[in-house]
Protein backbone atom coordinates (compact mmCIF):
# COMPACT_ATOMS: atom_id res chain seq x y z
CA UNK A 1 0.00 0.00 0.00
CA UNK A 2 1.34 3.40 -0.93
CA UNK A 3 1.99 6.14 1.61
CA UNK A 4 -0.82 8.28 0.10
CA UNK A 5 -3.33 5.45 0.55
CA UNK A 6 -2.21 4.90 4.14
CA UNK A 7 -2.61 8.61 4.82
CA UNK A 8 -6.11 8.62 3.30
CA UNK A 9 -7.08 5.61 5.35
CA UNK A 10 -5.80 7.15 8.61
CA UNK A 11 -7.55 10.47 7.99
CA UNK A 12 -10.80 8.67 7.08
CA UNK A 13 -10.64 6.73 10.36
CA UNK A 14 -10.11 9.97 12.27
CA UNK A 15 -13.03 11.71 10.52
CA UNK A 16 -15.37 8.79 11.18
CA UNK A 17 -14.33 8.39 14.78
CA UNK A 18 -14.99 12.10 15.52
CA UNK A 19 -18.82 12.10 15.70
CA UNK A 20 -18.86 8.66 17.31
CA UNK A 21 -16.40 9.75 19.97
CA UNK A 22 -18.44 12.90 20.51
CA UNK A 23 -21.61 10.83 20.92
CA UNK A 24 -19.88 8.55 23.42
CA UNK A 25 -18.60 11.55 25.36
CA UNK A 26 -22.08 13.15 25.38
CA UNK A 27 -23.67 9.90 26.64
CA UNK A 28 -21.01 9.54 29.31
CA UNK A 29 -21.49 13.17 30.41
CA UNK A 30 -25.30 12.71 30.56
CA UNK A 31 -24.90 9.56 32.63
CA UNK A 32 -22.53 11.26 35.04
CA UNK A 33 -24.93 14.18 35.37
CA UNK A 34 -27.77 11.79 36.20
CA UNK A 35 -25.63 9.94 38.72
CA UNK A 36 -24.55 13.24 40.21
CA UNK A 37 -28.18 14.35 40.66
CA UNK A 38 -29.08 11.03 42.31
CA UNK A 39 -26.12 11.14 44.69
CA UNK A 40 -26.73 14.83 45.46
CA UNK A 41 -30.31 13.94 46.42
CA UNK A 42 -28.93 11.14 48.58
CA UNK A 43 -26.59 13.54 50.34
CA UNK A 44 -29.45 15.96 50.93
CA UNK A 45 -31.42 13.18 52.61
CA UNK A 46 -28.40 12.07 54.63
CA UNK A 47 -27.35 15.56 55.67
CA UNK A 48 -30.71 16.08 57.35
CA UNK A 49 -30.24 12.92 59.44
CA UNK A 50 -29.14 14.72 62.61
CA UNK A 51 -32.69 16.11 62.85
CA UNK A 52 -34.12 12.60 62.66
CA UNK A 53 -31.82 11.32 65.39
CA UNK A 54 -31.96 14.26 67.74
CA UNK A 55 -30.73 13.95 71.31
CA UNK A 56 -32.01 16.25 74.04
CA UNK A 57 -31.16 16.56 77.72
CA UNK A 58 -33.63 14.48 79.68
CA UNK A 59 -34.39 14.10 83.40
CA UNK A 60 -31.32 14.06 85.70
CA UNK A 61 -29.22 15.46 82.89
CA UNK A 62 -29.10 12.18 80.96
CA UNK A 63 -29.42 12.48 77.19
CA UNK A 64 -32.60 11.16 75.67
CA UNK A 65 -32.90 10.13 72.06
CA UNK A 66 -35.76 11.65 70.10
CA UNK A 67 -36.76 10.35 66.69
CA UNK A 68 -38.40 13.22 64.82
CA UNK A 69 -39.44 12.17 61.30
CA UNK A 70 -41.70 15.23 61.02
CA UNK A 71 -38.79 17.63 61.52
CA UNK A 72 -36.65 15.56 59.19
CA UNK A 73 -39.24 15.67 56.42
CA UNK A 74 -39.79 19.39 56.88
CA UNK A 75 -36.05 19.91 56.60
CA UNK A 76 -35.83 17.89 53.38
CA UNK A 77 -38.84 19.47 51.64
CA UNK A 78 -38.20 23.02 52.78
CA UNK A 79 -34.47 23.03 52.11
CA UNK A 80 -34.46 24.06 48.46
CA UNK A 81 -36.99 26.87 48.98
CA UNK A 82 -35.16 28.33 51.96
CA UNK A 83 -31.84 28.29 50.17
CA UNK A 84 -33.31 30.25 47.28
CA UNK A 85 -34.76 33.03 49.41
CA UNK A 86 -32.44 33.40 52.40
CA UNK A 87 -29.74 36.02 51.80
CA UNK A 88 -27.86 34.80 54.86
CA UNK A 89 -27.46 31.33 53.37
CA UNK A 90 -26.53 32.74 49.98
CA UNK A 91 -23.84 34.86 51.60
CA UNK A 92 -22.62 31.87 53.60
CA UNK A 93 -22.39 29.79 50.45
CA UNK A 94 -20.61 32.48 48.45
CA UNK A 95 -18.01 33.03 51.16
CA UNK A 96 -17.30 29.34 51.82
CA UNK A 97 -17.27 28.42 48.14
CA UNK A 98 -14.85 31.19 47.27
CA UNK A 99 -12.46 30.11 50.01
CA UNK A 100 -12.54 26.43 49.04
CA UNK A 101 -12.26 27.29 45.37
CA UNK A 102 -9.15 29.36 46.02
CA UNK A 103 -7.26 26.68 47.95
CA UNK A 104 -8.38 23.96 45.53
CA UNK A 105 -7.31 25.94 42.47
CA UNK A 106 -3.91 26.83 43.94
CA UNK A 107 -3.43 23.33 45.36
CA UNK A 108 -4.24 21.55 42.11
CA UNK A 109 -2.15 23.96 40.02
CA UNK A 110 0.77 23.34 42.38
CA UNK A 111 0.17 19.59 42.21
CA UNK A 112 0.17 19.54 38.41
CA UNK A 113 3.31 21.66 38.24
CA UNK A 114 5.28 19.76 40.90
CA UNK A 115 4.01 16.36 39.76
CA UNK A 116 4.89 16.91 36.10
CA UNK A 117 8.33 18.32 36.90
CA UNK A 118 9.17 15.38 39.20
CA UNK A 119 7.81 12.91 36.64
CA UNK A 120 9.92 14.45 33.86
CA UNK A 121 13.00 14.58 36.08
CA UNK A 122 12.54 10.95 37.00
CA UNK A 123 12.03 9.81 33.40
CA UNK A 124 14.87 11.75 31.77
CA UNK A 125 17.44 10.82 34.41
CA UNK A 126 19.57 8.11 32.93
CA UNK A 127 21.15 5.37 35.00
CA UNK A 128 18.55 5.55 37.77
CA UNK A 129 20.62 7.89 39.91
CA UNK A 130 17.78 10.21 40.82
CA UNK A 131 14.89 8.01 39.83
CA UNK A 132 14.68 5.94 42.99
CA UNK A 133 14.98 8.83 45.44
CA UNK A 134 12.39 10.82 43.46
CA UNK A 135 9.91 7.98 43.24
CA UNK A 136 10.62 7.01 46.85
CA UNK A 137 9.75 10.58 47.81
CA UNK A 138 6.45 10.38 45.94
CA UNK A 139 5.64 7.10 47.69
CA UNK A 140 6.29 8.78 51.02
CA UNK A 141 4.04 11.68 50.03
CA UNK A 142 1.28 9.23 49.13
CA UNK A 143 1.54 7.50 52.49
CA UNK A 144 1.71 10.47 54.86
CA UNK A 145 -1.74 11.63 55.99
CA UNK A 146 -2.58 15.22 54.99
CA UNK A 147 -3.20 16.26 58.59
CA UNK A 148 0.34 15.18 59.49
CA UNK A 149 1.65 17.36 56.66
CA UNK A 150 -0.27 20.29 58.12
CA UNK A 151 1.13 19.70 61.62
CA UNK A 152 4.71 19.36 60.36
CA UNK A 153 4.44 22.56 58.31
CA UNK A 154 2.93 24.33 61.32
CA UNK A 155 5.91 23.24 63.45
CA UNK A 156 8.29 24.46 60.73
CA UNK A 157 6.57 27.84 60.64
CA UNK A 158 6.78 28.12 64.43
CA UNK A 159 10.47 27.14 64.34
CA UNK A 160 11.27 29.72 61.65
CA UNK A 161 9.44 32.41 63.58
CA UNK A 162 11.13 31.61 66.90
CA UNK A 163 14.66 31.14 65.56
CA UNK A 164 14.82 33.67 62.72
CA UNK A 165 11.87 35.95 63.40
CA UNK A 166 10.60 35.02 59.94
CA UNK A 167 6.86 34.58 59.49
CA UNK A 168 6.21 32.29 56.54
CA UNK A 169 2.40 32.19 56.79
CA UNK A 170 -0.16 31.90 59.60
CA UNK A 171 -0.46 28.46 61.19
CA UNK A 172 -4.18 28.94 61.69
CA UNK A 173 -5.66 30.45 58.58
CA UNK A 174 -8.83 32.19 59.76
CA UNK A 175 -9.27 35.56 58.07
CA UNK A 176 -5.58 36.19 57.48
CA UNK A 177 -4.72 37.46 53.97
CA UNK A 178 -2.12 34.71 53.55
CA UNK A 179 -4.26 32.10 55.27
CA UNK A 180 -4.87 30.16 52.04
CA UNK A 181 -1.20 29.15 51.73
CA UNK A 182 -1.07 26.33 54.29
CA UNK A 183 -4.29 24.56 53.18
CA UNK A 184 -3.32 24.93 49.50
CA UNK A 185 0.10 23.43 50.20
CA UNK A 186 -1.36 20.54 52.19
CA UNK A 187 -3.92 19.85 49.45
CA UNK A 188 -1.20 19.76 46.78
CA UNK A 189 1.00 17.05 48.31
CA UNK A 190 -0.99 13.89 47.58
CA UNK A 191 -2.22 14.81 44.06
CA UNK A 192 1.32 15.94 43.18
CA UNK A 193 2.72 12.56 44.23
CA UNK A 194 0.04 10.78 42.24
CA UNK A 195 0.65 12.83 39.08
CA UNK A 196 4.43 12.45 39.47
CA UNK A 197 4.22 8.67 39.63
CA UNK A 198 1.94 8.44 36.61
CA UNK A 199 4.08 10.94 34.66
CA UNK A 200 7.23 8.96 35.47
CA UNK A 201 5.70 5.67 34.33
CA UNK A 202 4.18 7.15 31.14
CA UNK A 203 7.30 9.07 30.10
CA UNK A 204 9.55 6.12 30.87
CA UNK A 205 7.37 3.98 28.62
CA UNK A 206 7.58 6.54 25.81
CA UNK A 207 11.37 6.87 26.15
CA UNK A 208 11.59 3.14 25.41
CA UNK A 209 9.67 3.43 22.13
CA UNK A 210 11.51 2.91 18.87
CA UNK A 211 10.69 6.34 17.47
CA UNK A 212 12.28 8.03 20.49
CA UNK A 213 15.37 5.83 20.24
CA UNK A 214 15.59 6.67 16.56
CA UNK A 215 15.26 10.37 17.25
CA UNK A 216 18.00 10.20 19.87
CA UNK A 217 20.24 8.16 17.57
CA UNK A 218 19.79 10.78 14.87
CA UNK A 219 21.13 13.39 17.26
CA UNK A 220 17.92 15.25 18.07
CA UNK A 221 18.59 17.46 21.13
CA UNK A 222 17.23 16.06 24.44
CA UNK A 223 14.86 18.99 25.01
CA UNK A 224 13.33 18.44 21.59
CA UNK A 225 12.90 14.71 22.23
CA UNK A 226 11.20 15.61 25.51
CA UNK A 227 8.94 18.27 24.05
CA UNK A 228 8.29 16.89 20.57
CA UNK A 229 7.90 13.21 21.40
CA UNK A 230 7.66 12.40 25.09
CA UNK A 231 5.43 15.21 26.33
CA UNK A 232 3.36 15.44 23.18
CA UNK A 233 2.40 11.79 23.37
CA UNK A 234 2.54 11.42 27.13
CA UNK A 235 0.45 14.39 28.27
CA UNK A 236 -2.92 12.80 27.44
CA UNK A 237 -2.06 9.76 29.54
CA UNK A 238 -0.78 11.98 32.34
CA UNK A 239 -3.92 14.13 32.08
CA UNK A 240 -6.03 11.00 32.53
CA UNK A 241 -4.90 11.04 36.17
CA UNK A 242 -6.37 14.50 36.77
CA UNK A 243 -9.91 13.37 37.72
CA UNK A 244 -8.48 11.08 40.40
CA UNK A 245 -6.15 13.81 41.64
CA UNK A 246 -9.11 16.22 41.83
CA UNK A 247 -11.13 13.62 43.76
CA UNK A 248 -8.37 13.26 46.36
CA UNK A 249 -7.98 17.02 46.68
CA UNK A 250 -11.71 17.58 47.24
CA UNK A 251 -11.87 14.77 49.83
CA UNK A 252 -8.83 16.18 51.60
CA UNK A 253 -10.58 19.57 51.87
CA UNK A 254 -12.48 18.27 54.90
CA UNK A 255 -9.60 17.44 57.28
CA UNK A 256 -7.23 20.07 55.89
CA UNK A 257 -9.62 23.03 56.19
CA UNK A 258 -10.70 21.78 59.59
CA UNK A 259 -7.20 21.58 61.02
CA UNK A 260 -6.00 24.81 59.46
CA UNK A 261 -9.15 26.64 60.52
CA UNK A 262 -9.83 27.79 56.96
CA UNK A 263 -13.59 28.43 56.80
CA UNK A 264 -14.35 26.90 53.42
CA UNK A 265 -16.88 24.24 52.50
CA UNK A 266 -14.93 21.37 54.09
CA UNK A 267 -14.60 23.31 57.34
CA UNK A 268 -18.34 24.03 57.39
CA UNK A 269 -19.22 20.37 56.84
CA UNK A 270 -16.86 19.30 59.63
CA UNK A 271 -18.23 22.01 61.90
CA UNK A 272 -21.78 20.90 61.21
CA UNK A 273 -21.11 17.23 61.83
CA UNK A 274 -18.42 17.33 64.48
CA UNK A 275 -19.14 20.17 66.81
CA UNK A 276 -22.50 19.06 67.93
CA UNK A 277 -25.53 17.66 66.30
CA UNK A 278 -26.00 20.10 63.46
CA UNK A 279 -28.64 22.27 65.01
CA UNK A 280 -26.53 23.21 68.02
CA UNK A 281 -23.41 24.41 66.22
CA UNK A 282 -24.84 25.54 62.92
CA UNK A 283 -28.14 25.30 61.14
CA UNK A 284 -28.82 22.04 59.37
CA UNK A 285 -29.40 24.01 56.20
CA UNK A 286 -25.83 25.22 56.24
CA UNK A 287 -24.54 21.67 56.66
CA UNK A 288 -26.63 20.38 53.77
CA UNK A 289 -25.75 23.40 51.66
CA UNK A 290 -22.02 23.05 52.31
CA UNK A 291 -22.19 19.32 51.50
CA UNK A 292 -24.04 19.93 48.25
CA UNK A 293 -21.70 22.75 47.30
CA UNK A 294 -18.76 20.42 47.91
CA UNK A 295 -20.29 17.81 45.62
CA UNK A 296 -20.97 20.42 42.94
CA UNK A 297 -17.37 21.62 43.24
CA UNK A 298 -16.19 18.06 42.83
CA UNK A 299 -18.47 17.53 39.82
CA UNK A 300 -17.20 20.72 38.15
CA UNK A 301 -13.56 19.82 38.80
CA UNK A 302 -14.12 16.25 37.64
CA UNK A 303 -15.79 17.48 34.44
CA UNK A 304 -12.98 19.94 33.79
CA UNK A 305 -10.32 17.28 34.35
CA UNK A 306 -12.09 14.80 32.05
CA UNK A 307 -12.59 17.46 29.39
CA UNK A 308 -8.89 18.40 29.52
CA UNK A 309 -7.87 14.75 29.28
CA UNK A 310 -10.23 14.19 26.33
CA UNK A 311 -9.00 17.30 24.50
CA UNK A 312 -5.36 16.37 24.93
CA UNK A 313 -6.14 12.79 23.98
CA UNK A 314 -7.77 13.80 20.69
CA UNK A 315 -4.84 16.00 19.77
CA UNK A 316 -2.43 13.21 20.59
CA UNK A 317 -4.30 10.58 18.59
CA UNK A 318 -4.29 12.92 15.59
CA UNK A 319 -0.56 13.54 15.96
CA UNK A 320 0.09 9.81 16.36
CA UNK A 321 -1.89 9.11 13.20
CA UNK A 322 0.11 11.77 11.34
CA UNK A 323 3.33 10.27 12.69
CA UNK A 324 2.22 6.79 11.63
CA UNK A 325 1.89 7.76 7.97
Amino acid sequence: MSIAKLQDSALKTLRESGPRALGRAARSAALRLLLFLVTALGVLLIAQLPFLLLMRPGPEGRPVLQVRPDVYWQGVTGFAGRVMVTPELQEFLREAWWRSGLVLAVGLALAILIGTVIGIASAVTTGGRWRRPLLGGTLLALAIPDFIVVILVQRLVVFLYREFDFRLFPILSGDSPRGWMLPALALAILPAAMIARIAAIVLDDIYRQDYVRTARAKGVPPWRVLYGHALRNGLPRIAASLPQAAAFAVSALLPVEWITNWPGLGFQVMLGTTMGRGALAMSIDKLALASLALIVTYAVLDGLARWTAARLGRRASASEAEGMV
Binding site: M55, P63, Q154, I171, T274
Partner: protein, 302 residues
Amino acid sequence: MRRRVNVWLWAGLAILAFLTVVALFPDWFAPNDPHQSFWPAYDEKGAILPRPLQPGQAGLLLGSDYQGRDLWSRVVWGTRTSLGLAVVITAARLAIALPLGLWSGWRGGTASKVISALAGAGTTIPILLVLILILRPLHGLATTVGANLLWLVTFCTITALGGVPRMVEAIRRRVATVAGAPFLEGAVAAGATRRWILRRHVLPHVLPEVAVIAAAEMAWVLLLLGQLGIARVYIGGGQEDVLSGELSETIPEWAQMLAVSRGAILKSPILVLVPGAAIALASIGFHMTAEGLRRRWQQVVW
Protein backbone atom coordinates in the same frame (compact mmCIF):
# COMPACT_ATOMS: atom_id res chain seq x y z
CA MET B 1 22.79 -11.21 33.91
CA ARG B 2 22.49 -10.43 37.60
CA ARG B 3 18.91 -10.11 38.72
CA ARG B 4 18.01 -6.84 40.43
CA VAL B 5 16.78 -7.04 43.99
CA ASN B 6 13.21 -5.82 44.29
CA VAL B 7 13.96 -3.27 47.02
CA TRP B 8 10.40 -1.95 47.15
CA LEU B 9 8.89 -5.37 47.76
CA TRP B 10 11.39 -6.49 50.39
CA ALA B 11 11.36 -3.17 52.24
CA GLY B 12 7.56 -3.12 52.21
CA LEU B 13 7.33 -6.71 53.42
CA ALA B 14 9.89 -6.00 56.16
CA ILE B 15 7.78 -3.10 57.48
CA LEU B 16 4.62 -5.20 57.33
CA ALA B 17 6.33 -8.15 59.05
CA PHE B 18 7.46 -5.86 61.85
CA LEU B 19 3.96 -4.41 62.26
CA THR B 20 2.49 -7.92 62.25
CA VAL B 21 4.81 -8.97 65.07
CA VAL B 22 3.87 -5.82 67.00
CA ALA B 23 0.18 -6.53 66.44
CA LEU B 24 0.48 -10.15 67.53
CA PHE B 25 2.77 -9.62 70.52
CA PRO B 26 2.23 -6.06 71.75
CA ASP B 27 3.45 -6.89 75.26
CA TRP B 28 6.96 -7.49 73.83
CA PHE B 29 7.15 -3.85 72.79
CA ALA B 30 4.89 -1.99 75.21
CA PRO B 31 6.39 -1.54 78.67
CA ASN B 32 3.12 -0.48 80.31
CA ASP B 33 -0.55 -1.27 80.43
CA PRO B 34 -2.20 1.00 77.82
CA HIS B 35 -5.04 1.76 80.28
CA GLN B 36 -2.85 2.58 83.28
CA SER B 37 -2.64 6.26 84.20
CA PHE B 38 0.72 7.67 85.34
CA TRP B 39 -0.76 10.94 86.47
CA PRO B 40 -0.31 12.56 88.91
CA ALA B 41 3.46 12.49 88.40
CA TYR B 42 5.91 14.74 90.24
CA ASP B 43 9.10 16.56 89.29
CA GLU B 44 12.30 16.69 91.39
CA LYS B 45 10.89 19.47 93.54
CA GLY B 46 7.75 17.48 94.28
CA ALA B 47 5.45 19.61 92.14
CA ILE B 48 2.74 17.92 90.08
CA LEU B 49 3.60 17.78 86.39
CA PRO B 50 0.93 19.10 84.04
CA ARG B 51 -0.93 16.78 81.67
CA PRO B 52 -0.11 15.53 79.11
CA LEU B 53 3.27 14.33 80.39
CA GLN B 54 6.11 15.23 78.04
CA PRO B 55 8.48 12.62 76.53
CA GLY B 56 10.81 11.29 79.23
CA GLN B 57 8.66 12.44 82.14
CA ALA B 58 7.59 9.72 84.61
CA GLY B 59 9.78 7.29 82.64
CA LEU B 60 7.47 7.38 79.62
CA LEU B 61 9.29 7.25 76.29
CA LEU B 62 6.83 9.45 74.34
CA GLY B 63 5.05 10.98 77.30
CA SER B 64 1.39 10.49 78.02
CA ASP B 65 -2.02 11.49 76.72
CA TYR B 66 -4.37 13.84 78.57
CA GLN B 67 -5.46 11.02 80.87
CA GLY B 68 -1.86 10.24 81.85
CA ARG B 69 -1.63 6.97 79.89
CA ASP B 70 1.60 5.89 78.20
CA LEU B 71 1.45 7.11 74.58
CA TRP B 72 3.97 4.57 73.26
CA SER B 73 2.15 1.63 74.87
CA ARG B 74 -1.15 2.83 73.47
CA VAL B 75 0.25 3.13 69.94
CA VAL B 76 1.76 -0.35 70.21
CA TRP B 77 -1.49 -1.89 71.44
CA GLY B 78 -3.43 0.11 68.87
CA THR B 79 -1.56 -1.64 66.05
CA ARG B 80 -3.67 -4.76 66.46
CA THR B 81 -7.03 -2.98 66.32
CA SER B 82 -6.12 -0.55 63.55
CA LEU B 83 -4.47 -3.08 61.23
CA GLY B 84 -7.22 -5.59 61.99
CA LEU B 85 -9.82 -3.03 61.08
CA ALA B 86 -8.04 -2.17 57.83
CA VAL B 87 -7.73 -5.87 56.95
CA VAL B 88 -11.43 -6.50 57.61
CA ILE B 89 -12.55 -3.48 55.56
CA THR B 90 -10.22 -4.29 52.64
CA ALA B 91 -11.21 -7.97 52.70
CA ALA B 92 -14.89 -7.02 52.66
CA ARG B 93 -14.32 -4.67 49.73
CA LEU B 94 -12.44 -7.38 47.88
CA ALA B 95 -15.05 -10.04 48.63
CA ILE B 96 -17.71 -7.88 46.99
CA ALA B 97 -15.63 -6.30 44.23
CA LEU B 98 -13.82 -9.40 42.92
CA PRO B 99 -16.86 -11.46 41.83
CA LEU B 100 -18.66 -8.37 40.53
CA GLY B 101 -15.61 -7.17 38.60
CA LEU B 102 -14.93 -10.66 37.18
CA TRP B 103 -18.53 -11.20 36.15
CA SER B 104 -19.11 -7.81 34.57
CA GLY B 105 -15.72 -7.73 32.85
CA TRP B 106 -16.23 -11.17 31.34
CA ARG B 107 -19.88 -10.85 30.37
CA GLY B 108 -19.65 -7.34 28.92
CA GLY B 109 -22.86 -5.93 27.44
CA THR B 110 -25.63 -4.67 29.69
CA ALA B 111 -24.27 -6.23 32.90
CA SER B 112 -20.96 -4.52 32.39
CA LYS B 113 -22.65 -1.22 31.61
CA VAL B 114 -24.90 -1.41 34.69
CA ILE B 115 -22.01 -2.24 37.01
CA SER B 116 -19.85 0.40 35.37
CA ALA B 117 -22.65 2.94 35.88
CA LEU B 118 -23.02 1.95 39.54
CA ALA B 119 -19.26 2.26 39.96
CA GLY B 120 -19.53 5.66 38.30
CA ALA B 121 -22.19 6.65 40.82
CA GLY B 122 -19.77 5.84 43.59
CA THR B 123 -17.18 8.16 42.12
CA THR B 124 -19.41 11.17 41.51
CA ILE B 125 -19.17 12.18 45.15
CA PRO B 126 -16.19 12.45 47.54
CA ILE B 127 -16.20 9.29 49.62
CA LEU B 128 -14.95 10.94 52.81
CA LEU B 129 -17.86 13.39 52.75
CA VAL B 130 -20.41 10.59 52.43
CA LEU B 131 -18.80 8.57 55.20
CA ILE B 132 -18.69 11.54 57.56
CA LEU B 133 -22.28 12.53 56.81
CA ILE B 134 -23.58 8.99 57.34
CA LEU B 135 -21.33 7.75 60.13
CA ARG B 136 -21.12 10.82 62.33
CA PRO B 137 -24.77 10.86 63.47
CA LEU B 138 -24.73 7.08 63.81
CA HIS B 139 -21.56 7.25 65.92
CA GLY B 140 -23.20 9.73 68.26
CA LEU B 141 -26.18 7.44 68.60
CA ALA B 142 -24.07 4.31 69.15
CA THR B 143 -21.84 5.87 71.81
CA THR B 144 -24.87 7.23 73.64
CA VAL B 145 -26.77 3.96 73.82
CA GLY B 146 -23.58 1.88 74.18
CA ALA B 147 -24.20 -0.30 71.09
CA ASN B 148 -20.52 -0.93 70.42
CA LEU B 149 -20.77 -4.19 68.53
CA LEU B 150 -23.54 -2.86 66.32
CA TRP B 151 -21.46 0.26 65.71
CA LEU B 152 -18.41 -1.84 64.78
CA VAL B 153 -20.43 -3.80 62.22
CA THR B 154 -22.08 -0.65 60.85
CA PHE B 155 -18.77 1.20 60.61
CA CYS B 156 -17.02 -1.66 58.80
CA THR B 157 -19.96 -2.27 56.44
CA ILE B 158 -20.41 1.35 55.39
CA THR B 159 -16.68 2.04 55.09
CA ALA B 160 -16.22 -1.14 53.06
CA LEU B 161 -19.14 -0.37 50.74
CA GLY B 162 -17.79 3.14 50.15
CA GLY B 163 -14.67 1.78 48.42
CA VAL B 164 -16.27 -1.04 46.44
CA PRO B 165 -17.18 0.92 43.24
CA ARG B 166 -13.62 2.01 42.53
CA MET B 167 -12.30 -1.52 43.09
CA VAL B 168 -14.98 -3.13 40.91
CA GLU B 169 -14.13 -0.78 38.08
CA ALA B 170 -10.39 -1.53 38.35
CA ILE B 171 -10.97 -5.31 38.29
CA ARG B 172 -13.56 -5.06 35.50
CA ARG B 173 -11.12 -3.15 33.30
CA ARG B 174 -8.40 -5.72 33.87
CA VAL B 175 -10.75 -8.62 33.08
CA ALA B 176 -11.97 -6.83 29.94
CA THR B 177 -8.37 -6.69 28.65
CA VAL B 178 -7.95 -10.44 29.22
CA ALA B 179 -11.39 -11.33 27.86
CA GLY B 180 -10.40 -11.24 24.18
CA ALA B 181 -7.30 -13.43 24.58
CA PRO B 182 -6.99 -16.46 22.22
CA PHE B 183 -6.66 -18.97 25.06
CA LEU B 184 -10.07 -17.89 26.36
CA GLU B 185 -11.60 -18.21 22.91
CA GLY B 186 -10.12 -21.70 22.86
CA ALA B 187 -11.70 -22.51 26.21
CA VAL B 188 -15.09 -21.26 24.99
CA ALA B 189 -14.75 -23.28 21.79
CA ALA B 190 -13.89 -26.37 23.86
CA GLY B 191 -17.22 -25.98 25.64
CA ALA B 192 -15.99 -24.86 29.07
CA THR B 193 -18.64 -23.36 31.34
CA ARG B 194 -18.55 -19.70 32.30
CA ARG B 195 -17.73 -20.50 35.93
CA TRP B 196 -14.89 -22.82 34.91
CA ILE B 197 -13.42 -20.23 32.55
CA LEU B 198 -13.58 -17.51 35.16
CA ARG B 199 -12.04 -19.67 37.87
CA ARG B 200 -9.39 -21.51 35.88
CA HIS B 201 -8.45 -19.06 33.15
CA VAL B 202 -9.44 -15.49 33.97
CA LEU B 203 -8.81 -15.41 37.73
CA PRO B 204 -5.14 -16.48 37.56
CA HIS B 205 -4.49 -13.67 35.08
CA VAL B 206 -6.21 -11.11 37.25
CA LEU B 207 -4.83 -12.20 40.63
CA PRO B 208 -1.49 -10.37 40.42
CA GLU B 209 -3.35 -7.16 39.65
CA VAL B 210 -5.79 -7.87 42.49
CA ALA B 211 -2.88 -8.37 44.90
CA VAL B 212 -1.47 -4.97 43.90
CA ILE B 213 -4.90 -3.36 44.27
CA ALA B 214 -5.46 -4.99 47.68
CA ALA B 215 -2.09 -3.87 49.04
CA ALA B 216 -2.62 -0.28 47.87
CA GLU B 217 -6.20 -0.38 49.17
CA MET B 218 -4.93 -1.27 52.66
CA ALA B 219 -2.87 1.92 52.62
CA TRP B 220 -5.85 4.02 51.48
CA VAL B 221 -8.10 2.45 54.11
CA LEU B 222 -5.60 3.32 56.84
CA LEU B 223 -5.46 6.92 55.62
CA LEU B 224 -9.25 7.01 55.48
CA LEU B 225 -9.46 5.74 59.07
CA GLY B 226 -7.10 8.53 60.11
CA GLN B 227 -9.17 11.16 58.32
CA LEU B 228 -12.35 9.80 59.89
CA GLY B 229 -10.58 9.93 63.26
CA ILE B 230 -9.94 13.65 62.73
CA ALA B 231 -13.72 13.96 62.20
CA ARG B 232 -14.24 12.01 65.44
CA VAL B 233 -15.63 8.95 63.72
CA TYR B 234 -13.83 5.88 65.02
CA ILE B 235 -14.12 2.40 66.49
CA GLY B 236 -13.69 1.25 70.01
CA GLY B 237 -15.85 1.51 73.08
CA GLY B 238 -15.61 5.28 73.35
CA GLN B 239 -18.00 7.25 75.47
CA GLU B 240 -19.02 10.75 74.54
CA ASP B 241 -20.94 13.20 76.63
CA VAL B 242 -23.55 14.38 74.15
CA LEU B 243 -24.09 17.75 75.74
CA SER B 244 -20.52 18.80 76.47
CA GLY B 245 -18.87 16.91 73.59
CA GLU B 246 -16.18 15.56 75.97
CA LEU B 247 -14.63 12.32 74.82
CA SER B 248 -13.06 9.45 76.66
CA GLU B 249 -12.08 6.14 75.13
CA THR B 250 -11.09 2.72 76.29
CA ILE B 251 -9.69 0.53 73.51
CA PRO B 252 -6.46 1.92 72.04
CA GLU B 253 -6.75 2.48 68.31
CA TRP B 254 -4.84 4.92 66.10
CA ALA B 255 -7.82 6.77 64.65
CA GLN B 256 -9.35 6.99 68.11
CA MET B 257 -6.15 8.46 69.50
CA LEU B 258 -6.29 11.10 66.76
CA ALA B 259 -9.91 11.83 67.56
CA VAL B 260 -9.40 12.45 71.26
CA SER B 261 -6.19 14.46 70.76
CA ARG B 262 -7.32 16.58 67.82
CA GLY B 263 -7.89 19.60 70.01
CA ALA B 264 -4.25 19.47 71.18
CA ILE B 265 -2.63 19.88 67.76
CA LEU B 266 -1.02 23.21 68.56
CA LYS B 267 -0.38 22.71 72.27
CA SER B 268 0.87 19.10 72.26
CA PRO B 269 1.31 18.04 68.64
CA ILE B 270 3.04 14.82 69.67
CA LEU B 271 -0.35 13.40 70.71
CA VAL B 272 -1.45 13.57 67.07
CA LEU B 273 1.95 13.04 65.45
CA VAL B 274 2.56 9.65 67.12
CA PRO B 275 -0.62 7.87 65.94
CA GLY B 276 -0.32 9.76 62.62
CA ALA B 277 3.25 8.46 62.20
CA ALA B 278 2.03 4.93 62.94
CA ILE B 279 -0.60 5.27 60.19
CA ALA B 280 2.04 6.68 57.84
CA LEU B 281 4.47 3.81 58.58
CA ALA B 282 1.84 1.15 57.91
CA SER B 283 0.69 3.02 54.84
CA ILE B 284 4.27 3.23 53.51
CA GLY B 285 4.64 -0.51 54.09
CA PHE B 286 1.53 -1.31 52.06
CA HIS B 287 2.35 1.18 49.29
CA MET B 288 5.90 -0.22 48.97
CA THR B 289 4.57 -3.77 48.86
CA ALA B 290 2.06 -2.79 46.17
CA GLU B 291 4.81 -1.09 44.16
CA GLY B 292 7.10 -4.09 44.60
CA LEU B 293 4.39 -6.52 43.46
CA ARG B 294 3.62 -4.32 40.48
CA ARG B 295 7.27 -4.32 39.48
CA ARG B 296 7.56 -8.05 39.97
CA TRP B 297 4.51 -9.00 37.92
CA GLN B 298 4.48 -6.24 35.35
CA GLN B 299 8.18 -6.56 34.58
CA VAL B 300 9.02 -2.94 35.36
CA VAL B 301 12.77 -2.70 34.94
CA TRP B 302 13.53 0.49 36.86
